[in-house]
């Protein structure tokens, strides 16, 4: 029993370690039916920060926030934490200038929006890119 407990503990720690190291990058993705192949970092900032939401193929970008990894994404994109991101949006929303990205509450909602809209831009853990999604830009964490 003691040996079993120790094995469980070692395995858990190993898995946690693997999980930590695997959490390396975040990928900005689009439905692979889109003609867009890649975007630059400044285009990604313009789209997700509400400055200029146009895709390289000239269509209107629809950015999607995904709650579980939102904080990691904005840290990687603009080096700001969620209080700073909310402060940024408070300025734009309450002056009626722009709206933040649409929020997907969970991964099912997220996949639903992404698969039904060729202009929807989302972000995922780079190690877990869903099928039928094309990576446009990878952000290092």
């Amino acid at each position: 029993m003691t040996r079993f407990t120790r094995w469980i503990r070692v395995t858990t720690i190993a898995l946690l370690f693997i999980g930590t190291t695997a959490r390396a990058d975040i990928a900005i993705v689009i439905n692979d039916a889109s003609t867009v192949r890649q975007i630059s970092h400044s285009e990604a900032v313009n789209i997700f920060m509400g400055r200029y939401r146009r895709l390289p193929n000239d269509s209107v970008a629809l950015p999607i926030d995904q709650a579980p990894i939102k904080a990691r994404f904005y840290r990687a994109l603009v080096q700001k934490d969620m209080a700073e991101i909310n402060s940024y949006w408070a300025r734009l929303v309450f002056s009626g200038r722009a709206s933040p990205p649409q929020q997907a509450g969970n991964s099912e909602d997220f996949l639903d929006i992404m698969t039904h809209n060729n202009n929807a831009l989302g972000y995922v853990d780079a190690a877990r890119t869903p099928p039928h999604m094309r990576v446009l830009l990878t952000l290092s964490e």
Partner: protein, 386 residues
Amino acid sequence: MKSLPILLMALLLACSAGAQAQTRLLDDRVTLSGFGTLGLIHSDQDRADFVRDTGQPKGAEKGWSARTDTRLGLQASVRLTDELDTVVQGMSQYHSSGDFSPELMLAFVRYAPDPGFQLRVGRLGWDVDLISESRYVGFAYPWIRPPVDHFGVLQLTYIDGADVTFTRPVGDDLVWARLVAGRSDSRFFMSDALEADFDAHNVLGGHLNYETGPWRFRAGYTRVRSEVSFSGGDADLIDQMFNIDANRYLNYLTGFDELQVYSLGAAYSSGPLQLQAIWNRDILADGDTWLDTGFVSAAWRMDRWTPYAMASGTRTHDSREDPIGSNIEQNTWSLGLRYDVTTHLALKAQFDRIHTRSPGLLWRGIDDGWKDDQSNLVSLGLDFIF
């Protein structure tokens, strides 16, 4: 003042509802959100009362006051189609009616057929410089309040009209421009015995913006033509003693009926550092009198803590001998600290040292001959969004 306890209750309820994210209804078409500030201010000045802007009829006397900075705003946004949306915002704050009665701050329809173009029609914010549109949203900036030396005078609350915005990318940078036309009503309190009602029937303006990396730059120009009516004890006195039309006389002296505002601004935000600087020149009718206002601010974010420092100043240039005592010369040093309790709630503390050489319109309850004095303010604030 009866409504202050009600507003405070509402603010506390909003806070106790938790730092919730924006409430979204009806399949994401309707968004309800809000912002607010619970502000406390302590002044050591017993010869004049501090106001946030000239729309406030009474100021913070020596001691503690919750009136100056406390406010609550509620907003509904409705996405009608992919190209059309509408925004309505109401706000309660201590303002020119002398109470916390709510005002309609935004009510517009936006047509945005393209990321490079948008048209808004209805009630819009007063967008005269980099942050004037969002000056009531405490959560959006590090300070307790935007600098009074800059935002205290000659600011309209909103514009009823239309604006168009054009945005173009230039390489990795962005250039955007906005043109606005409309009208507005505002009431300014020039002293305890003189107030000015602005029927600003012709507001025209525009600004050009350049955004590159962490930098934002803006140059703007706005012209406001108004019918100004003066009232209060001083206006009555002019009528009676000199048997002349006080409105004509005071318009002649103040030049409020035609105002031009030039503005230059820059903001930088990268990593932990935030810098902002704005300078405005408000030119009054005859062109011989103008008001320069400006500030420089630096903030440094360390995890949840953001210490900041700001210097601001305002000065009237007047070739005459300040005929009605409205000329201002003042500068302020501010030091403060913002602490983000959650991602939707921030606590702030700020110390202001104000050197008033000539109070002009910026103070209330002024003792005769008060000038060349220092005031110390301590302010505490709780800002939230939901």
